[in-house]
């Protein structure tokens, strides 16, 4: 089989799975609905309870889950290749800590602004993630021409710890209700309630995915080593910058939409690699599609398992991801 055919067949398989999950998921919930009724145009909107539940309550949430899951998984793939470290996640380089600090400050300072239907918490978290990205980038490129991936990693880990301390400090000063609201945000949640935040995050994610699409073969070469990649025709500095900035932008947008939902960015790429190998031309799109389906399924579990109580979706992914991560560590050593 030719390489092109293999890529098309495997990625199509993952796409079919993701689409099936995303069509099925909105029909499941505390109130059973019928897809046929939801799409029946002969019933007036005001009388069509199925359509209201489908389009207003569940579909935005499923779309948000798909978008966030796809983005975190793809960003994980890119950062793992960039850092040549299979244990890297989209949050390794400080993006999520910056986002959390931003959200925390928005809550405690009672910022009440809204741009195009996007409220202050997502706006502040996106700003926080971009500031964190800027700091890490400046540190990693200050020492010499190009980007030092070692400094990138160290700066990211340090910034994560530092921002976490700031978050704890702000939380300590905040009142009980504010602190609870911020903590709840950090657990991750896809209860977006409207299409606005999805549409707002979309341009950043589309731009990043366009960059991802152009770098898949380069990511293979980076996995073999920067020097080897350079000798095979990769402009290393440009490739590293593009990978870091696009992955950070995508992660920042996804976190502003769904909060810092952990483990997607590491479990999904690893599962996909176990299934299809390490060629990024397959791993990257397959991870995005599988990540979408995986997070939608986790969110389905989050809203149905203890119904009517909702479990934060970040708790569900961490409950699955934690043991998986440990298994991975044991398997690697």
């Amino acid at each position: 089989m030719s390489i092109r055919r293999r890529i098309i067949i495997v990625v199509s398989g993952f796409a079919a799975f993701a689409v099936a999950v995303m069509i099925w998921a909105p029909t499941v919930g505390s109130t059973p609905i019928s897809l046929a009724r939801a799409f029946d145009r002969s019933i007036a909107w005001d009388d069509n309870v199925d359509a209201q539940i489908f389009f207003v309550a569940r579909l935005p949430r499923v779309l948000a889950g798909g978008l966030v899951g796809a983005t975190l998984a793809a960003a994980g793939v890119v950062l793992q290749a960039l850092l040549r470290n299979p244990l890297a996640t989209p949050f390794t380089l400080g993006v999520s800590a910056g986002a959390s600090l931003g959200a925390m400050l928005a809550v405690t300072m009672r910022l009440e602004l809204s741009v195009l239907g996007v409220t202050s918490i997502p706006l502040a978290s996106f700003a926080g993630s971009m500031i964190a990205t800027g700091i890490v980038y400046a540190l990693a490129s200050s020492q010499r021409r190009g980007l030092s991936t070692n400094v990138l990693l160290l700066a990211g880990v340090t910034l994560n710890a530092f921002f976490s301390a700031l978050i704890l400090f702000v939380q300590y000063l905040a009142d009980f209700a504010e602190a609870l609201r911020a903590i709840r945000w950090m657990m991750g949640g896809l209860d977006v309630a409207s299409y606005f935040p999805i549409v707002a995050a979309l341009p950043f994610i589309i731009i990043s995915f366009a960059a991802f699409a152009m770098m898949t073969r380069t990511l293979n070469l980076l996995s073999v080593g920067a020097e080897a990649a350079a000798s095979r025709g990769v402009e290393i500095v440009r490739a590293q910058r593009l990978a870091f900035i696009s992955a950070s932008l995508a992660t920042g947008a996804a976190v502003s939409l769904g909060g810092p939902i952990g483990f997607i960015g590491i479990i999904v790429p690893h599962l996909v690699r176990l299934l299809v190998g390490s060629d990024h031309r397959i791993v990257l799109p397959a991870s995005a599609l599988f990540g979408a389906a995986f997070l939608v399924l986790c969110d389905l579990a989050a809203r149905t398992l203890m119904s009517p109580l909702e479990i934060p979706v970040g708790v569900v992914t961490a409950l699955i991801g934690g043991p998986f991560f440990l298994w991975l560590l044991v398997k690697r050593s």
Binding site: S223, R232, S278
Partner: protein, 264 residues
């Protein structure tokens, strides 16, 4: 014969204020050359190869590919003419041998192009040339040191470059693999016309396959020229601070270097 690749009085330091690792080096590789670069650890061999391949730019001086300065070529253009076999290859993820070899086609492919049948054929030819066809579908990390090294050489061959720069290709290999790799390199040079520069610590390998030698110490060229003229006891002493016997087999013309003792 024309120079294919030449460095003209090049110097290099890794960071501002750091010492020069390569210091005013001039070397010429003519078409079809098989040159060895010898020198103690830290003498600048690896850095010189990086300057010659263009993955680093000299702090001063210039490298010419044909008649054009190498830094006027894009990385892709340069990689179509110069392939590199690095000292070590450590993968971040698990790839099969054939996938590694196909990565050599990178500079010949467009941004979103996938390797076609022609590229796959070139990759399989490269595996055949290095005697590794049977390893194509094995995982790289499961291979032995010698097998890995031959796959990496195959990946460099798949680049279809007429210049091959090798950084200590036999360093971590046992005697059998050392012989195998050196006869492979000799064959590639003689039968396929690939011009090569090989950095090595193995004086006997260099003596048996290289037609010219470049001796480097402290970032400078100590001596260079035809192997028989350059590989003298005097030069070995200046290069390594080692007293050595250099013997020439009167029948085969083979040179052997036997180190005797270290001079303080």
């Amino acid at each position: 014969m024309r120079d294919l690749l030449s460095a003209d009085n090049v110097s290099f330091r890794y960071a501002a204020g750091a010492p020069l690792v390569v210091d005013g080096v001039t070397v010429r590789l003519s078409d079809g050359a098989l040159a060895g670069i010898l020198g103690p650890n830290g003498s600048g061999k690896t850095t010189l190869l990086r300057l010659l391949s263009g993955t680093r730019r000299p702090t001063s001086g210039r490298v010419l590919l044909g008649n054009r300065p190498l830094d006027q070529f894009s990385r892709r253009e340069a990689a179509r003419q110069i392939a590199v076999v690095p000292q070590e290859t450590e993968l971040a993820f698990e790839y099969r041998a054939i996938e590694i070899v196909l990565m050599g086609r990178h500079p010949h492919l467009g941004l979103l192009t996938v390797e076609g049948p022609g590229d796959v054929r070139i990759a399989h030819d490269a595996l055949a040339a290095t005697g590794t066809s049977h390893l194509a579908d094995r995982f790289f990390h499961e291979l032995s040191g010698g097998e890995k090294q031959r796959i990496v050489i195959a990946a460099a061959l798949a680049q279809s470059a007429n210049l091959l720069l090798l950084d200590e290709p036999t360093a971590s290999l046992d005697l059998g693999y050392q012989l195998e790799i050196s006869s492979l390199l000799l064959r590639l040079n003689q039968d396929h016309g690939v011009t090569m520069a090989i950095s090595t610590h193995d004086l006997n390998m260099a003596a048996s396959i290289c037609r010219e030698l470049i001796l480097m110490r402290d970032g400078r060229v100590l001596a260079s020229g035809p192997t028989a003229e350059v590989l003298t006891p005097e030069n070995v002493r200046r290069l390594y601070d080692v007293e050595a016997d250099v013997q020439v087999n009167s029948e085969t013309g083979h040179m052997t270097v036997v180190p005797v003792r270290r001079i303080k």
